[in-house]
Symmetry: C2
Subunit: 400 residues, 2 copies
Amino acid sequence: MSAPDTAGALDGVIVLDLGQIYAGPYCTHLLRAMGATVIKIEPFGGEPIRWRSAGDVAGAAFLMLNAGKQGLRLDLKKPEGRELLLELARTADVLVENFADGVMERLDLGWDTLHTVAPRLVLASGRAFGDHPAAAGLRGMDVTVQAIAGVVTTTGPADGPPSKAGPAVVDFATGTHLAAAVLAALYQRERTGRGQHVEVAMQDAILPALTSNIAGYLEADGDFPERTGNRHGGLAVCPYNIYPALDGWIAILCLRPRHWTALCDLMDRPDLARDPALASPAGRVRDMDRIDDDVTRWTEQATTAWLFGRLQEADIPAAPVRSLGEVITDPILRDRGMLTEVGDGDRAATVLGSPVRMSASRPRPAAPAPLLGEDSADVLRERLGLTDADLDRLRRDEVI
Amino acid sequence: MSAPDTAGALDGVIVLDLGQIYAGPYCTHLLRAMGATVIKIEPFGGEPIRWRSAGDVAGAAFLMLNAGKQGLRLDLKKPEGRELLLELARTADVLVENFADGVMERLDLGWDTLHTVAPRLVLASGRAFGDHPAAAGLRGMDVTVQAIAGVVTTTGPADGPPSKAGPAVVDFATGTHLAAAVLAALYQRERTGRGQHVEVAMQDAILPALTSNIAGYLEADGDFPERTGNRHGGLAVCPYNIYPALDGWIAILCLRPRHWTALCDLMDRPDLARDPALASPAGRVRDMDRIDDDVTRWTEQATTAWLFGRLQEADIPAAPVRSLGEVITDPILRDRGMLTEVGDGDRAATVLGSPVRMSASRPRPAAPAPLLGEDSADVLRERLGLTDADLDRLRRDEVI
């Protein structure tokens, strides 16, 4: 892609971030990378993942996700704190929150209130199951939604217990959809001049990722294994597995006929390539166990590096299973700025980049996450015109 | 959320969809639900997942993801097919593709060409590792990127082999980020009047979901288990696990101190609530094995329904592990339109809804996925003014 030569896509867009843990903060992380100014608003104790469980040191997850945001400490339970939020909302474009159901209403900061006070504001809400009578009061966190929405039952060995996905796939799917929702609402506002309320439910956000699994289930009319181990979720592609190597594991799949014939060549198994029972995708699926055994006999005699090299040359989709240590030092991820070191001394931290690359939107430079309330005075002075005396009083009253 | 009372956010936006399998088609699925008109362009054989492996019947995954799109069959390798695509690009707003590296350039449809011909067009590209010299020619599919980017090493039992996540989390993370990228580019175009090239790499798109795992690794300076089974990815929260019940499994986590004391009450274990060693989050993390054993002794004597009811009443985050069959008949997902039945007879299909809810954007009604080339004539007549004679000739020359 050509070098960015203009400003950011969201230059001038002001985002109030009441997000916590992953979904909300990741949404605003994406918006910030596109050029938005993000004001992270936290209660006096900081948001739930600000501190490590061991004490008052900032947690690495918090630092990764909140880089470059401004930090405002604000007690929304105090009338004056709520009033300040509404004043900020009047001057802002977007407010992002992923509180539990009903929290915004209890703070008297529901959509009707916000829309009346700030008609151009886009309110973005991350929820567990969304606005639905049967979901009222139902809590959701990444792992519980993984369980209830089908991620856990489809993950793990076919003959063993169910497993969660290691990464927080539900929280991040929610945050990403929420960013798309905000952007669609900003685009629509260009025509209507008005904001709207956008909502993403965690359960909805992860469901589409189960398309293979659901399709397999529907095609087999329910006569279908819940978990398929490392095989294709719909049991519709073979070879498709993670095979043992001398020094680790390697994922290999043959989506197209030419991948299968190339793999037979590599394995020096013309008998398989010629076997009429294995000539069609459906035939290979029927003989899955035999094929996986044959591929395993080949992979287990070689290193992942050797296998990966040969498979790449043959243009067969494959990759070694890398460790976390290998991932976070990967030169491609590093060069693309997906993980960067910023700050000095106490403020030194590893921060995330953005997966969204835009040829005409300059990415915002990385900067450390804010200390709790670090920018409170600056934000209120610049955005609401508060004086030093106002700020002193708000501090004394423990509003900021 | 109040009832939608206006048009769609993307009304009037025309999207050309060269997407295949999941990432590209899911991106355009999201854009269609927001009001865009999506023209799905397929080669003569159909896109890779159009047909079931068993024959020429449309696959359920294809039907789920391509509902309500228009179907155009077009041979881009023929000069006239390419020319028609460029003419369509002149009248369109967005072109989405997730081909392997270099395919668009080989078709002479690279960014420079498209931008010259159609300066307002946004080109959205899904890639495996993105534009990087070391990634040139590297293939990526969902499971291989899960392997190389850290999903597989972090999924599965702590003492067992690595596992992929059951759902296609990489493909869908890519598609969702790509939709956000398109929307940001459309928003920026309101100011600049010009399109741009946006890109999302699969490896980048899934990395943020590993925030917990990477943070745990960084905080422990690398002295950290790759996989934590069903425990917290950063081993920073306890209780946090999927516990056995009489009739299945239940996920429970205690993020806040009050969750822990409420769980001790439910289990009728005042000794645990009073134990000073377990009073702090860090203390509970240190005694993880003991706590998990105690919780298991409680859960394994009850049904998931009973446990879920008690835990909900006590406001402790929890959920049963549901089967795929339970998920796809879930009343909340059904009422929210996340899965709907559309069409009659041969065209009957289950289709996905969109996780993005917008109070002022009416969702597009569901409709069956197009047959291969179903709308070829209509699209070319309406958008490019082709005559019946033109269309006959193009059919005869196997361009459409």
